[in-house]
């Protein structure tokens, strides 16, 4: 209990940030027409690709002599890039089709 409270005290700013971001996520998606569910899911999929920033961070901190870390880190960056690039491009392709109308 005490550790939990200490934790809250130490990271209060971030905890607030998380709580507000949760509500923001719900607000931003609310009332979206069914038609856009697939592209939206795909777009959200691309956005969580931001995890690649963490992978790059790992690489930058890595000891250049530590081969296992470099190998895993490079793999992580590669996978993150796939998520980001593939995600945004697929979403764009889906949305491109909506744009032709009108």
């Amino acid at each position: 209990m005490e550790t939990a409270l200490n934790f809250l005290g130490e990271h209060l700013g971030m905890v607030y940030f998380v709580v507000l971001a949760i509500f923001l996520g719900v607000e931003v998606i609310g009332g979206v027409p069914t038609v856009l569910h697939t592209p939206l899911m795909s777009g959200a999929n691309a956005i969580h690709g931001v995890v690649i920033v963490g992978a790059i961070h790992v690489m930058l901190h890595a000891d250049p002599a530590d081969t296992p870390v470099l190998v895993l880190g490079t793999l992580a960056v590669l996978l993150g890039t796939l998520n980001v690039v593939g995600g945004f491009v697929v979403t764009d392709r889906m949305l491109e089709m909506f744009k032709k109308k009108k």
Binding site: L24, T34, A44
Partner: protein, 463 residues
């Protein structure tokens, strides 16, 4: 100075993610929203590399850029080349990559944060959630592309899954509390989490796949957010939490569209009970009638209102262009044609809209379920193309049916029902459909694309 600039780049990234997601909620601005999000992502990535405080060794920079270049090339080409029908599994695949990335980060960082309980918890959570998301997405991918086409259930799978989950949680807790633990245990946790992802996704029925993908998407968001927590990185936090909560809401919206609770999707009501229903239903039903293209052409030609119900079969057969041709041809003969879009038609909500938009079908002709259902009574012909479960009356009148309670398109109220199907096999949910035996229903057998092309040429020869 540099570090402030870096924070600024993350701020810009966060704002673009929020703005992008918001703009994606409206058909007019959706594409711009996606591009804005992508731009923010590029800024955050470049900022991370170029605004790093300390000098970086050449080999590290080389590896980073090599991975970025290779990932961009593969991701871009795959995304550009894939067929429209394969979009859902591709989204699932990319989602899995993100999950794996999050898990790898945790794996690498674990030894570096042993004295810090908060960071350690974030790392372990990242490993567990990332791995589940990865293996689950891969299973979902294999299921959607047909490699694993039937739900696979171990006996007592709910029991096994629960025990597995408790095991994963207990191991996580132990690793967290025990402090410096031998690394093999971390790998055990990784393996157990990967296994749980597989066990979690395997028994889930095909019709529920979109919900699962959306749920796993939300998981990956959560894993990314834990990474952001670890590094106090606000771009990762915003992106991750935003996707986590928005994805969860989207998942619930999809469940609602199918009138199923998330619990019943995950713990499964499809399966054992449906087998008995199929057996019972396929006995004692009358024979089905079939109809030839020439007769169907005449029927459609002299109708006033026609409603087309597209389903996954249409997508598989790539028949979206020929159905548009049929629609314009009929309209030119004075027949009013609309499309009835069930919220979960296809493999993902909105799947049919994307597909028909590709074939230039007018947006205004796509009518959602609630609006079209009252219109069926005034409809002369309903043409069901490659859809099955979404028109199955068992959802309304058979409490024993696994899809009981799902809202359906009430096509049985129309004057004539024509069902285009390749054969009499059951639909994706694996259950029989009483609509085929309806007195007003005729079967129009054949691959959707070929059969419709035949129909169109018969129609052309009619004048």
């Amino acid at each position: 100075m540099k570090s402030h600039l870096l924070e600024l780049s993350y701020l810009v990234g966060s704002v673009t993610f929020i703005l992008g997601l918001k703009l994606m909620g409206n058909p007019r601005t959706a594409r711009r929203g996606n591009l804005i999000g992508a731009a923010g992502m590029v800024i955050a990535i470049l900022g991370t590399i170029f605004l790093y405080e300390k000098p970086i060794s050449g080999i590290v920079v080389g590896l980073i850029f090599a991975a970025l270049a290779l990932g961009t090339a593969i991701g871009w080409l795959t995304a550009k080349r894939v067929q429209m029908t394969q979009m859902p599994e591709l989204v699932s695949m990319f989602n899995g990559m993100g999950g794996a990335c999050a898990a790898l980060i945790g794996l690498i960082e674990y030894p570096n944060y042993l004295g810090n309980p908060a960071a350690l918890l974030a790392i372990l959570a990242g490993v567990v959630i990332g791995s589940i998301s990865f293996s689950g997405s891969i299973v979902a991918f294999l299921k959607l592309n047909g490699t694993l086409d039937r739900p696979l259930r171990l006996p007592y799978y709910n029991f096994i899954n629960t025990v597995e989950l408790i095991g994963v949680l207990a191991l996580t807790f132990w690793l967290w509390q025990a402090g410096p633990a031998p690394c093999p245990l971390l790998y055990l946790l990784l393996a157990a989490s990967l296994l749980y992802g597989v066990l979690f996704t395997l028994p889930i029925g095909g019709a529920d796949m979109p919900v699962v993908i959306s749920l796993l998407n939300s998981f990956t968001g959560l894993a990314a957010a834990f990474g952001g927590f670890l590094y106090h990185n606000y771009a990762m936090l915003t992106g991750g939490i935003l996707v986590g909560s928005a994805g969860m809401l989207l998942t619930l919206a999809m469940c609602k569209a199918m009138n199923r609770s998330l619990v019943s999707v995950v713990f499964g009501a499809f399966g054992a009970s449906s087998k008995t229903t199929v057996a019972a239903a396929s006995q004692g039903q009358g024979a089905v009638k079939d109809i030839q293209p020439s007769d169907l052409a005449v029927l459609l030609n002299y109708s006033q209102r026609v409603v087309i119900v597209p389903g996954y079969g249409l997508a598989v057969a790539q028949a979206q262009h020929v159905i548009h041709e049929l629609e314009t041809l009929l309209e030119s003969r004075g027949v009013q044609v609309k499309y009835a879009i069930h919220p979960v038609a296809g493999r993902m909500p909105g799947h049919m809209n994307v597909l028909l938009a590709e074939a230039n079908v007018d947006y205004g002709k796509l009518v959602e379920m609630e609006e079209i259902n009252p219109e069926f009574e005034r409809t002369d012909v309903v043409l069901v193309v490659g859809a099955n479960d979404v028109v199955n009356p068992a959802a309304k009148n058979d409490p024993g049916s696994p899809i009981y309670g799902m809202p359906i398109l009430e096509v049985d109220r129309a004057r004539r029902i024509i069902v285009n199907k390749r054969s009499m096999n059951a639909g994706y949910a694996g259950i029989d459909n009483q609509i085929f035996y309806h007195p007003n229903c005729s079967m129009f057998f054949g691959d959707a694309k070929k059969a419709l092309a035949e129909l169109v040429s018969e129609l052309k020869s009619l004048t």
